[in-house]
Subunit: 444 residues, 2 copies
């Protein structure tokens, strides 16, 4: 497809391009324009019919939106900024430098400027920042035919018309009526009698992950957003929530892998950016790991007496780390999806203790055999076996407990994942190992 | 709310319960019923109006659906099974034992039974299994007023009426028209002229994560599913896709933490289930880790000559493991979200090499200082420093490369995460460490 368009561009067959593009989904047009050589991008964009153009623009990645705006004439920029959906515009403004935002705000019509100002006033990652102000407003005393007439007139400007929101004169949200029930009702029925008055909504300061979980819970296509005085100020639509879920999961996964998350794409990051998002974590962890060095120096006499003990250090700490990582992973995810509720925590910790112990016993036997096979020293292999058993049990409990504790102290549980747990389990594991060794091998 | 209902139940105030429930969202009614004492659950369920009852039933968790069906009378079961949305019914049947499914299939009307048989015929986790057959069908030659009339009649039975699908006499999907464009068009306009003919759809055998990514890409509320002959057989709606995204992310996160994923809830798992989902991974990893034991025995002369070298083994392998985990996490997530495209892989590997080297240099210096502080032996600390630098660089490249290789060989990249990478990096790290030690400390 790209190739055809490129060929047409080189032959300057603009009307053919127009005809080809006309059939396509705005998202596909965006993708094609992005992959064209930069001197052609503006040309193709300008060939788009005006209503399609804004839609295509909204589908570009933010950095590309920036670049394109810079290359367009000022009346074109004015057109785009005024026509964009308020929520997509907020997303763009969020990423732009303050001086550019001010310049662009000045280009907006007064009403749009007011909307943009308001939306930017909400905190990042809250419902207020996600919402659009283009929702379908209906009056309680409308008949169904009046409602349909309103929809017919206002639909082109609205992001979704699947729900109509019924608001009182002081803009309080009184009820909601679905397009489905509008279309299946009689023309003379009254909106106020058909609407649902127990509306599921969120407040402007709700966190985006809360919004996502409410919408997923109730299978909503759109959710109304009210301010602190219960006045309807916007709606959030299903497509934004898909992005939020993916974004939140990415954030959790990154945190679990001890990397600072970023919403910029991997390709856009400079090498220095990549170093920065990893460095502080690695330093924190290396400082924690230095405790294990100190522990080993404490036991250096034991180590010099039985050098064979050192052979099993990686085996022991890896196995402990892996068991801890497993438990932490299960717990963190169950906390994130809301599956693990407060009242069940002790039950889960108890279960993890027992299954950790069973796993520890099995792996301990396996480890002891391995150790005997390598060292041929019975007492060393018993030490290794018992230590693995203890460490796996402890690691399973620690991996379950620490994410729960983190949540209790308002930290993100995802911090308490593999890398962190591994380092903590190391310290505990090494002390266990050498104390057991001293006892079994009778070293003082 | 639960408390009130419980009180009313105890006082047998059934009409009050009916009135209270009437105001509530089906999802909330489901939640309340689930938390009631089991002898009350059936009673409240039977108080629901018939159309609400099915909706409430669909919102129960699958294990609860099973239990409830067992406790209901056979005509009630017949009612529910025939009225349920086909996709929710498939989800239930998937989890039931074969003999129960056969019994339930026999209770279905012939047409519903045919639908249920068909849906169960598709592979798990494919579009065919996810879809519902209740979609809105329109004819190409319908006028808008005929279309609206069709919608009015059929809407109550349809999962979504936001799109109408236009199909040919041989059931091929010819076009799609949104409810928005139906409602904004004139009564005499013809569907065939308004519909969009380049329909975005998926095939029945498309994997659910592909479906999710297409729907997210195009911001769709519903997507049509066609069979291998391009005949329309069903649609998948936005709410199912939210579940798919969460499910897929959970699967990835579990795999990254070296646990076998399960769709059963944490509380439903027995201790033996918890052991099973972790055991094979731990055994695999402990066997891999035994290589590090062998490496250490190979270098036992070096170790006995300079015992201090053993102090830094945990520090070294933890740091290597952490760096590898970071790179693997970033790569795996970028592959999962589709952010990391084939053509950019070498560029990313190159970048990771350079940022790994920079991180390695910084951490190497830090590690060398720590080692000098602990051991007071300059040559040992130089060995530690250089080894950390080499290991961090190698780990960063390995962590980036292995998930990409896994994908190339049709494995899930998420396997190549923290635990696996750590164990591999250990082996490489220990060899590096002792070879450098031999060189610098001049030991043979």
């Amino acid at each position: 497809m790209n190739k055809d368009i490129l060929e047409m561009l080189e032959k300057k067959q603009f009307s053919e391009i127009k005809a080809t593009i006309k059939q396509m989904h705005p998202q596909d047009i965006s993708s094609i324009i992005t992959t064209l050589p930069s001197h052609f991008q503006g040309i193709v964009y300008r060939l788009l019919p005006k209503d399609v153009a804004v839609n295509v623009f909204e589908n570009f990645e933010i950095p590309f939106q920036e670049t394109l705006l810079n290359s367009l004439k000022s009346d074109e920029v004015i057109g785009i900024l005024n026509e964009m959906a308020p929520d997509d515009r907020t997303r763009l403004f969020e990423e732009l430098p303050a001086n550019i935002v001010l310049k662009y705000l000045a280009l907006l019509d007064e009403s749009e400027r007011k909307i943009a100002y308001n939306l930017l006033g909400y905190n990042e990652d809250t419902a207020g920042r996600l919402m659009t102000t283009d929702f379908l407003e209906l009056q309680e005393n409308f008949t169904i035919s009046q409602a349909i007439e309103t929809i017919r007139i206002t639909a082109p400007k609205k992001e979704t018309i699947y729900y109509g929101y019924v608001i009182s004169p002081d803009r309080k949200l009184n009820g909601v009526i679905s397009l489905k029930s509008i279309i299946t009702s009689e023309p003379d029925d009254v909106v106020g009698e058909l609407m649902n008055t127990s509306v599921i909504c969120v407040q402007t300061d709700a966190l985006q992950e809360e919004v996502a979980s409410v919408m997923a819970h109730y299978d909503l296509v759109a959710i109304p957003v009210v301010d602190l005085e219960d006045r309807l100020v916007g709606i959030i639509t299903h497509d934004d929530i898909l992005d939020v879920i993916t974004e939140e999961d990415t954030e959790d996964i990154h945190l679990m892998g001890a990397v600072t998350t970023t919403d910029r794409s991997l390709l856009d990051l400079t090498i220095w950016d990549s170093v920065k998002r990893r460095l502080s974590w690695l330093i924190l962890l290396i400082v924690l790991a230095s405790f294990s060095t100190n522990i080993l120096t404490m036991y250096q006499d034991v180590l010099s007496t039985v050098v064979a003990l050192s052979f099993f250090i990686p085996l022991l700490i890896d196995t402990g780390g892996n068991a801890g990582t497993q438990s932490a992973t299960i717990t963190i995810r169950a906390l994130a999806t809301g599956e693990l509720k407060k009242q069940h925590r002790w039950e889960i910790i108890g279960k993890e203790f027992v299954s950790g112990l069973i796993l520890g016993l099995m792996l301990g036997v396996l480890g002891a055999f391995q150790a005997y096979f390598t060292s041929q020293i019975l007492l060393v292999s018993i030490t290794v076996g018992i230590s693995i058993c203890v460490v796996v049990t402890l690691a399973s409990v620690t991996g379950t407990l620490l994410p729960m504790l983190a949540e209790r102290f308002k930290l993100d549980p995802a911090v308490m994942a593999g890398p962190f747990i591994t380092t903590i389990v190391d310290i505990v594991g090494l002390i266990t190992y050498f104390e057991i060794a001293k006892l079994i091998l009778r070293i003082n």
